[in-house]
């Protein structure tokens, strides 16, 4: 599938309509920063996924939809992306109305399947994705690589399975099921005379309990117990039983809290022993504060909130990639502090969860209606004290380690054991008194015991069931996680093996004759759990196997690696779509890498893929456009104005094809100007490559140099360094032509130039440029390719060489 046309209306920066007629051809689009060229990649992403990831991270609820419509759009109009494909049955318009509701015009089954399949394909690469990869740690590298190759969701599912499994395991621990079960068994023993773990044991014990009542019925099921309770219940029994039950619950709960807290004290002491020494080391606190700052800073840089190359904190000019790289190195240095802090946080979280269970039990007691009675006021106050104690405990766990307030020692927050014991004794005493009063009444005594045992057994079964399901869920998630990481590892290993070949190939095309070879992506596993921890890149550097690209390779080289990853994944995954969008990916490439990058795209992808290449780099645009026109690419520019927002502009760069077209049609209008502009641009490249000296000018004025000045500078350089080139170029003979043409075509002049005059001007211009430009490797001769020993310069390949005196 290739794209015939894309038309945007009211999307992002486009206020009116932006049409791009591609007709299945590749296109190079130039647009200054802020002109809205990324609107094109955003639109393609939105068309396929109904969201724009780099926006949705800031606007999670609406998945970025709130920012898709241009804010100046008429409220009644829909904004839309209209894509027409090589297969017209897939043509579709995705639109969005003022309420951020989206629609798709193509509702066929085929199209839905196509959209779904496209989710697994690699359609867009943005510059910031390359930057993220460069600066990544090994773990982040795994994550980023997974994102580039479409494995992000695999990583997300893996993390989800692990996270949920771990959470269930911690819940099981914090709920202290054994204590809960044992408390309920105590009540059962108290009332039935023995522990009852199974329904049969419980029913047998109940039958034994009611035997003295000589009832006509026996208990066969748990439901029968309720029936018996009802059948032997008399007026006011319920009130007495409720009292007995309540004091029983208080006794049970306090015993449970006491047992649980014994474990929580040990946990708190462990937490305290980690927290307090950490907090007392000012260096660690400083590092922790810096860690938070750096993490926040990196987030801001990655989200590209600041478009310019400045530090968001001090506002000094600095290369953004370099800044992210420095921050990542510092973050790596702080990773030990980060892990230490993570362990402390996890302990606090487990403790909080365990305390919450106890706290909830106490709160549940306090909600008991009986406590509103005046005679139980002091009892209520005692329970409230325990509640307050637990709250103090919880507050300690919310303390910020980076603040100065220290954690209270265990002895200061520990619930005084005599308080709990007093409550246990008091409730037991009340319970005993109530039971004592019943002694003369066998029926009431049995009724109460059966009532309490029934409640305790129900609770016991619930606790046991909950424990059992949680254990099953824990085991399930552990098994699923083990199976999943095996699958992930197998898929990644296959991917890495096969990809290493392509990556190496692409990288070497962009970096020939360099001492980096045999690039291979290698997975790193945890030695104990066997889990995939990260990915490292191995390569031969001057014949030595090494693994740290950041240490030895330049930014351009590392970007080449990132780009190679993406292109290799395009080759592997894009089965339905034979197009991809590269959004400003060459920003940090130096000149030689840019040329070779263009060569890579043309040599390896031009035949099979339609490429949408967006750039804000004027130099790259000019450099690449001359070599891609002959390959059938379209060239376009986009700009921005207040009225229309982003809009398409006529391409200025494709001078050669415009000039040749006009000569073919014998159309002399504007022809002289076009040749002059072409000449000036090419002379700038010649002057740049030969390091010709011109007089100083500020900023834009530097760009506005005319042909005569450039020709003088080139002539002067050639006179000094290369007699051979000077004689071949004959600049002195050529020099009059541009001025003549400029005067006759640009000003009022009685002399009217003919098409033949312009043909000569074009022929001479082409001849001159050909002397400096190699058609084999599409490069100018350059002093960067100097052979000092032979006193020669070349274009970089053997086809164009000249003598050059140093």
């Amino acid at each position: 599938m290739k794209i015939k046309s894309i038309t945007l209306k009211g999307i992002r920066g486009v206020r009116n309509t932006l049409p791009l007629d591609l007709n299945n051809r590749s296109i190079l689009i130039f647009g200054d920063n802020g002109s809205g060229k990324s609107t094109i990649s955003d639109s393609v992403e939105w068309f396929y996924s109904d969201s724009i990831e780099h926006i949705s991270s800031e606007e999670i609820e609406k998945r970025g939809k709130g920012a898709i419509r241009n804010i100046f759009m008429d409220q009644n109009d829909d904004a839309y992306v209209d894509i027409k494909f090589s297969d017209s049955s897939h043509n579709a318009i995705r639109s969005i109305d003022n309420a951020a509701k989206t629609y798709n015009s193509n509702e066929t089954k085929d199209f839905k399947e196509y959209l779904e399949d496209s989710q697994a394909e690699r359609l867009i690469l943005r510059y910031n994705q390359l930057v993220e990869f460069i600066v990544a740690t090994k773990k982040q590298k795994l994550d980023k690589l997974q994102e580039i190759i479409g494995f992000s969701e695999v990583g997300n599912i893996r993390d989800l399975l692990r996270k949920i499994g771990g959470k269930i395991k911690r819940n099981i621990k914090s709920e202290q099921f054994d204590n809960q079960k044992s408390t309920k068994q105590s009540t059962l023993i108290e009332n039935l005379g023995k522990p009852t773990y199974t329904t049969k044991e419980f029913i047998d014990a109940c039958n034994k309990l009611i035997k003295p009542l000589n009832l006509n019925q026996s208990i066969k099921t748990i439901a029968d117990v309720n029936d018996i309770i009802k059948s032997i219940e008399e007026k006011d029994d319920n009130k007495v039983s409720s009292m007995i039950n309540f004091f029983g619950r208080v006794s049970e709960t306090m015993k449970l809290v006491k047992e649980n807290m014994d474990q929580e004290y040990i946990n708190y002491q462990n937490y305290y022993d980690l927290f307090s020494p950490f907090q007392k080391e000012p260096e660690k606190i400083v590092k922790l504060s810096v860690l938070n700052l750096l993490e926040e800073g990196i987030q801001i840089l990655r989200k590209e909130i600041f478009k310019e190359d400045i530090c968001p904190l001090c506002e000094q000019t600095i290369n953004k990639i370099e800044l992210i790289r420095k921050l990542t190195v510092r973050l790596d240095d702080l990773s030990e502090i980060s892990s230490e802090k993570e362990i402390i946080d996890e302990k606090a979280s487990d403790l909080k969860s365990a305390l919450q269970n106890n706290y909830d039990n106490i709160r549940s007691l306090l909600s008991e209606k009986l406590l509103s009675e005046a005679e139980l006021r002091s009892f209520k106050e005692l329970i409230q004290e325990i509640e307050n104690n637990l709250k103090t405990f919880k507050d300690e766990l919310n303390k910020d380690i980076s603040q100065t307030e220290p954690l209270k020692a265990l002895s200061l927050i520990k619930i005084k054991s005599n308080k709990l014991e007093f409550l246990i004794e008091l409730s037991q005493k009340k319970l005993d008194e109530l039971l004592e009063n019943q002694k003369k009444n066998l029926r009431l005594q049995i009724y109460t015991k059966l009532f309490r045992a029934n409640d305790a057994f129900k609770d016991y079964r619930k606790i046991e069931k909950r424990h059992e399901i949680l254990l099953k869920q824990q085991n399930t998630f552990e098994s699923l996680f083990s199976d999943f990481i095996l699958r992930q590892e197998e898929a990644i290993n296959t991917f890495l093996d096969l990809f290493s070949h392509d990556i190496n190939d692409f990288y070497r095309i962009m970096n020939p004759n360099e001492n980096v070879q045999n690039i291979k992506l290698v997975p790193l596993k945890d030695r104990t759990t066997d889990e995939l921890l990260g990915i490292t890149i191995e390569y031969d550097f001057f014949d030595t196997r090494t693994t740290q690209p950041i240490a030895y390779l330049s930014e351009s080289h590392i970007n080449c690696l990132g780009l190679s990853f993406f292109l290799a994944s395009v080759k592997a995954f894009n089965k339905r779509n034979h197009f991809f969008v590269l959004d400003d990916v060459v920003s940090s490439y130096d000149r030689s890498h840019r040329t070779r990058f263009a060569k890579l795209l043309i040599d390896k992808f031009n035949d099979d893929y339609q490429i949408i290449l967006l750039t804000h780099e004027q130099e790259f645009f000019e450099l690449v456009s001359s070599s891609i026109v002959s390959k059938g690419w379209l060239i376009n520019e986009i700009g921005w104005n207040k009225e229309d927002g982003t809009l398409a502009k006529t391409a200025l760069i494709d001078y050669r094809s415009q000039i040749e077209d006009k000569i073919r049609k014998r159309d002399k209008s504007e022809l002289g100007n076009l040749i002059r502009k072409y000449l000036e641009r090419q002379l700038k490249s010649v002057a740049y490559n030969l390091d010709c000296k011109v007089s100083f000018r500020f900023n834009n004025l530097n760009e506005k140099r005319m042909a005569p000045e450039l020709l003088d500078a080139i002539q002067s350089t050639l006179n000094k360094h290369s007699k051979e080139l000077s004689e071949k170029a004959k600049i002195t003979d050529f020099k009059g032509l541009p001025s003549f043409i400029a005067n006759t075509t640009s000003h009022d002049n009685s002399f009217q130039e003919s098409i033949e005059d312009l043909e000569v001007f074009w022929e001479e211009t082409s001849k001159l440029i050909k002397i400096f430009y190699c058609n084999s490797c599409n490069r100018f001769v350059s002093i960067s390719n100097i052979e000092k020993g032979n006193k020669k310069i070349s274009c970089g390949c053997p086809d164009l060489t000249y003598e050059w005196k140093i």
Binding site: E153, I164, R466, F484, R487, T494, F495
Partner: protein, 68 residues
């Protein structure tokens, strides 16, 4: 080459298609997981809620059985 490589989506789809072949799993939990994935709602919150609901449902079922 590309035939041998699985995309991320293929890895996940295969996992969910073959998940029931993994021995000794809690069937209700796995079914919830499959449903959440199939309906595109597999998030941590949704999964946690679904797991809590399984416990709640099983406890309710046990209570109902006891009553009858």
């Amino acid at each position: 080459m590309s035939d041998k490589i699985k995309s991320g989506k293929e890895v996940i789809d295969d996992f969910f298609a073959e998940i029931l072949n993994i021995p000794d799993l809690h069937e209700e939990t796995v079914q919830k997981l499959i449903t959440l994935y199939a309906t595109g709602k597999l998030t941590e919150t949704n999964l946690q809620n679904a797991l809590d609901k399984i416990i709640e449902e099983e406890l309710n079922l046990m209570e109902k059985e006891d009553e009858n």
